[in-house]
Every structure is written in C-alpha cells, then in structure tokens.
C-alpha cells in the first residue's frame, strides 16, 4: 500500500510513500494498530534509496547494539544507531539488524516539525517503514515532543485500578505482569509503556511489540519500582527521591538539555500526582494481596 495510519499510544501516526517511493508493508505486529486516517500527530514520508547526511551534521549521540542472553548482555555493534544534528534538523542513521538485507536507513526529523522523512536503502519495491529500531526511535521522539514519558515498565489494570511496575532489565516486569494476568487483571504491557497526562489523569499505553498487539490503555493509579526480594516488601518513596528513581527507568537519549529538562519536568509532575513505592517481591500471588492491601 502507499499509505496507512497507526494508533500507537494514542498518537495517530500517518505513514505515506513519497512520490516514486516503495510499497509499504507493515509488520504483523502493527496489524491491530492500523486505524482510519484522521488528523495525524505525525506524518512520515518514506523514500527508497540513499540520502546523504549534510556535511555540517555532527553526531550528538550514538547507541550500541546490545543483545541479552540468559541475563548476560553483549555488545554486538558499537554503532547501532546515531543521532546527528545540523541546525534545526536532526537525523537518525541506523541499520536494521533483523532485516534480511540489513538495510541502512536515515530519518530526518525535527523537535519543532511533525512532518518527517525516512529513507530506506533496501533495493526492494516493498519496505516495512517501522522495522526495529525505527519504531522505538520514532515513538521516543514523539513522546519527547509531546512531554510524555516512555518507561521500562509493565502495567496492569485490576478492577479498574492501573498499576505500573517499573524496573530495568531483569527486575521482574514480565513476571509481575504474568502474576497479575493469571489473576484476571488486564495486562497493558509487560515491558514498555508510554505514559501521558490527559486532562490531569495519567494514562498508560502499550506499544506494538508482539504479534497482534492491539492498542491497550488504562488510567494509572500507582507506580511501583520493582526488584526481586526474599520477601514481599513495600516502601513508599516521595519527593525528589521518587523522581530520581523513576527517572532512572525512563527511556531516554539525554543528549539535549531541553529534552532532559522536559523529561525531568514530566516525571516530577507525575510523581507529585501519583503514589510511588519501591516494591521487592517474590514471584507468587501474595504480591497481589500486598499491593491491594495498600490500595
């Protein structure tokens, strides 16, 4: 197809093939997120081929490709993706590690303009314009522009109450989601959430990671910073400490003071509105009783 729109984390993202551009074939994980083309929050024009970085572009951030196997993290590539700046224009150059062709891509974007351009060197007549890591990178900058929060966390809705369980890799996010899911709670996601302040209420959204990941959301009532423990233990945290602990779990690129200030501001406001607690837990149903006791 030549164009389609996605509902991801409440954003309407319109993707269109540029003139003479490739056919667009979204991956199956986006199938349930395809939505009617309405007023879009972001428009991405997709081009096939090479777009050279401006000579004036300077690299401001780069990320390695890290793979984790059995809890051991290994760096597979020091230069997985990079952010470049040239005046007001920003560029992300990345490879697509799960693409058969390992295509190079370049995204031209801006924090002040919501019409972006994406070039994919595929040599193919069809492309998936949101192949990993493009989906995550695009969503990250969209949340940043809107003052929203992208966080390493699982989230559930239990009897109308939304709970976020946040932590870095290995702290038990997906385990927690599974425990609550088996008890009948609605799991919003088990690994990554977008949090928005909508008219004074904080709402968590999933993002398409797995096949048939349909859009899900829930109001947020409590935030837990989780870790494995010998016994279940809940410790409320407040103020600046709560902010610093939540910040450490947010997805962030941190190369721009304005972006940092926006994130710190958004997290600070959220932590002043919602109860935050550290939560050590054993992986069984007793943790649900403890959380509900505090509710």
């Amino acid at each position: 197809m030549k164009s389609y729109s996605l509902d991801i984390a409440g954003y309407n993202i319109a993707i269109q093939s540029a003139e003479d551009g490739p056919d667009l074939v979204p991956a199956p994980r986006f199938a349930s997120s395809i939505c009617p083309a309405t007023a879009s929050d972001l428009l991405i024009s997709v081009h096939e081929g090479h777009f050279p970085l401006p000579i004036s572009a300077t690299r401001v951030f780069h990320a390695p490709l890290v793979e984790e196997l059995d809890g051991i993290r290994s760096t597979m590539d020091d230069n997985f993706w990079s952010v470049f700046r040239s005046g007001e224009d920003l560029f992300i150059e990345t490879s697509l590690p799960f693409s058969d062709e390992g295509n190079r891509t370049l995204l031209k974007f801006s924090l002040n303009n919501l019409q972006w351009d994406l070039w994919i060197e595929s040599g193919s007549a069809t492309v998936d314009p949101l192949e990993y890591p493009l989906d995550s990178l695009i969503l990250y900058y969209l949340t940043t522009i809107n003052g929203d929060i992208m966080i390493h966390a699982s989230g559930v809705n239990h009897s109308g109450k939304g709970y976020i369980f946040s932590g870095i890799s290995g702290t038990g996010k997906s385990t927690m989601a599974k425990i609550w899911g088996m008890s009948g709670s609605r799991v919003i996601h088990d690994d990554r959430l977008v949090i928005k302040n909508i008219s004074g209420k904080y709402t968590m959204f999933n993002t398409p990671v797995y096949e048939n990941d349909s859009p899900r959301k829930s109001e947020v009532n409590r935030i837990f910073l989780i870790g494995h423990g010998q016994k279940n233990r809940l410790e409320p945290v407040q103020g600046a400490r709560a902010v610093s602990l939540v910040l450490a779990n947010c997805i962030q690129h941190n190369w721009n003071r304005e972006i940092i200030a926006r994130l710190v501001g958004a997290v600070s406001m959220m932590c002043s509105s919602l109860p935050v607690a550290k939560l050590d837990f054993k992986p069984d149903r007793e943790i649900i009783d403890l959380v509900l006791y505090y509710e």
Partner: protein, 95 residues
C-alpha cells in the same frame, strides 16, 4: 577554599524543584547521567538556592543560621558536607 570563597553552579546540570526539594541531573559532554541523579532535601535545596556566584561561604553560613535557627558549627558542617557531596556540580572561586 576558605570563608571568602565564592560558590556558583556548574552549567553542567539540569535542575528541577519538586516541593521543597531538588532533583539535579548531571550532564557530561552533553549527555545526562540518569544513574547519578542528585536529590537535595530542604536544607540542601536552601543552600543550592543561596549559591549565586557572588555570595561568599561565610554569607551562606549566616543565611543557614538565620533560616534554620541553628548554631554556627551545625551550619558550617551542613555546608561543608554539601560542598563535598555536590562538588562536581559546583564551581568554587577561591578568595
């Protein structure tokens, strides 16, 4: 450093006041280090706000005594602890 030394904030920090406290995010080579975020309690927040690039250490000690109705030794200890802990986010101009 002595009582005439003047303190100022490093430019390599993003600050946010939350209630009576502060969150300070160090920024090195334009990259924020979210794993090394500082938090300041009420006393630390007061000291941070008195540091303006012109006040001498002795003046800040005097302000601490007045604000918290404390004795000089406690105020000096609080300020020295603050400077020791927050040194990477401060510029100390010697007399």
């Amino acid at each position: 450093m002595n009582s005439k030394s003047v303190l100022s904030h490093s430019s390599n920090v993003v600050t946010r006041k939350t209630g009576n406290e502060y969150v300070l995010v160090p920024v090195t080579d334009n990259i924020a280090d979210m794993d090394s975020v500082f938090t300041l309690n009420e006393t630390g927040a007061f000291i941070w706000e008195q540091i303006d690039g012109t006040r001498e250490i002795s003046e800040i000690i005097g302000l601490l005594i007045a604000e918290f109705d404390t004795d000089r030794q406690t105020a000096e200890t609080d300020l020295m602890d603050f400077i020791r802990n927050m040194g990477s986010l401060l510029i100390i101009k010697q007399d």
